[in-house]
């Protein structure tokens, strides 16, 4: 009998995830301290599982399906069916700028703790439009946007899209190391795409293509 306490192993054991469950079970039977700890953890689990769970109110499913019907209709609209290739390059550059600005706005309430973060967005037509931390960047008024791009703008750029595009643009920046590792799995990319609107996914696809070409 190993008399060493198994406190650290108890959570996984009680979750059915311990590697050596039989050993831990035997120890608990013989050790009052660990048995007491296990009982406390079980009580916590039971308490959490007993918490009330809200359920959908009448009409929820109907509201979801009304939105789904709108989406189904939008999918049938011809301009979204594979015309991404016609997007203007300037539109994509603007996407990146707006995305960068959007992402920067999500960081620390727009305040840069280091004073200045390295922003390396694609070259804008006017340096005045370059992003600075926490500042929303307006795109050039005289840029011509394809209808698809206008749709993307109307849809808004999500934080996920902004974050991913920022990573692609600023891959060489060392302060992004942690963020880069968050995007190294296919699974993460699937989730990322699933959270984008059609317009965002189009912009993202274009940026990926540009990025691959430039490497």
């Amino acid at each position: 009998m190993n008399n060493r306490h198994v406190f650290d192993e108890l959570p996984a054991f009680l979750d059915g995830e311990a590697k050596d469950a039989e050993r831990i079970a035997r120890h608990i039977e013989a050790c009052p301290d660990c048995a007491r700890e296990a009982a406390a953890l079980r009580a916590l689990s039971q308490g959490l599982r007993a918490l009330p769970r809200p359920e959908a109110r009448p009409g929820f499913r109907g509201r979801v399906m009304a939105r789904v019907a709108e989406e189904a209709e939008r999918k049938r609209e011809p301009f979204l069916a594979g015309r991404w290739a016609h997007w203007a390059v300037t539109g994509v550059a603007a996407a990146a700028l707006i995305a960068v600005a959007g992402f920067m706005a999500t960081m620390d309430n727009g305040e840069d703790p280091n004073g200045s973060l390295p922003i390396a967005a694609p070259p804008p037509a006017d340096p005045a439009n370059e992003a600075t931390p926490g500042e929303t960047v307006a795109y050039e008024e005289d840029w011509e946007f394809a209808p698809e791009w206008e749709y993307a703008l109307e849809s808004g750029v999500s934080a996920e899209a902004a974050e991913a595009i920022l990573v692609l643009l600023l891959e060489e920046e060392p302060w992004l190391d942690d963020m880069l590792t968050a995007y190294d799995t296919e699974r993460e990319l699937d989730l990322l795409l699933a959270n984008m609107t059609d317009g965002e996914a189009g912009a993202f696809a274009m940026l990926l293509a540009d990025y691959a070409e430039g490497r």
Binding site: P52, P54, E55, A56, V64, V68, A69, E71, R187
Partner: protein, 196 residues
Amino acid sequence: MTDTQPRDSDDWALVARARGGDVRAFETLVRRYQNPVIAFCYRMAGSYEDAEDLAQESFVRVYRALDRLTPRAQFTTFLFGVVRNLTLNHLRNGKRRGRDRSAPLGEEDQFLEDSAAGVQPDSAARLSETEDLLAEALEALSPEHKEVIVLRELQGMDYESIAEVTCCRKGTVKSRLARAREHLRKRLTELGVTLQ
């Protein structure tokens, strides 16, 4: 393993039908998962209104993604991955706006009364004081600790599924769960609650 795993092959069959234009197949998925999704969002966001909005938007985003989905993992881990991302964005945006997300005392009772109308009569029972304090302690956890607790204890997911949903390693899930439970117990002790 999750509570919903046996349904997984059926879920993907519904996804395939929905992708082919069968809206009723997607509606079946919504009916099947609306309550777990709302429950997750509620515990994460702390507001029933926000939870319903987040759940609605999640289902719409899953619908948009149908053409890109392949049955490589459980449908529920994909679904909750979308739900989780939206919820965390919501929390970040709320924090950025300086909004107080914490549910005022009594709101939990109110959502129970609202959501119980014709849905789950037994849910209408008032929370006991212990449940109230436990909910308060859960609410006080950081999002990364709260999400693993909610996915494990309220959704019944195993470590592997939680790792997929939260895009981290299984070992990270294990350590976060252990820390989250420590925080909960410490907070409950401070509140004078003894769970038995």
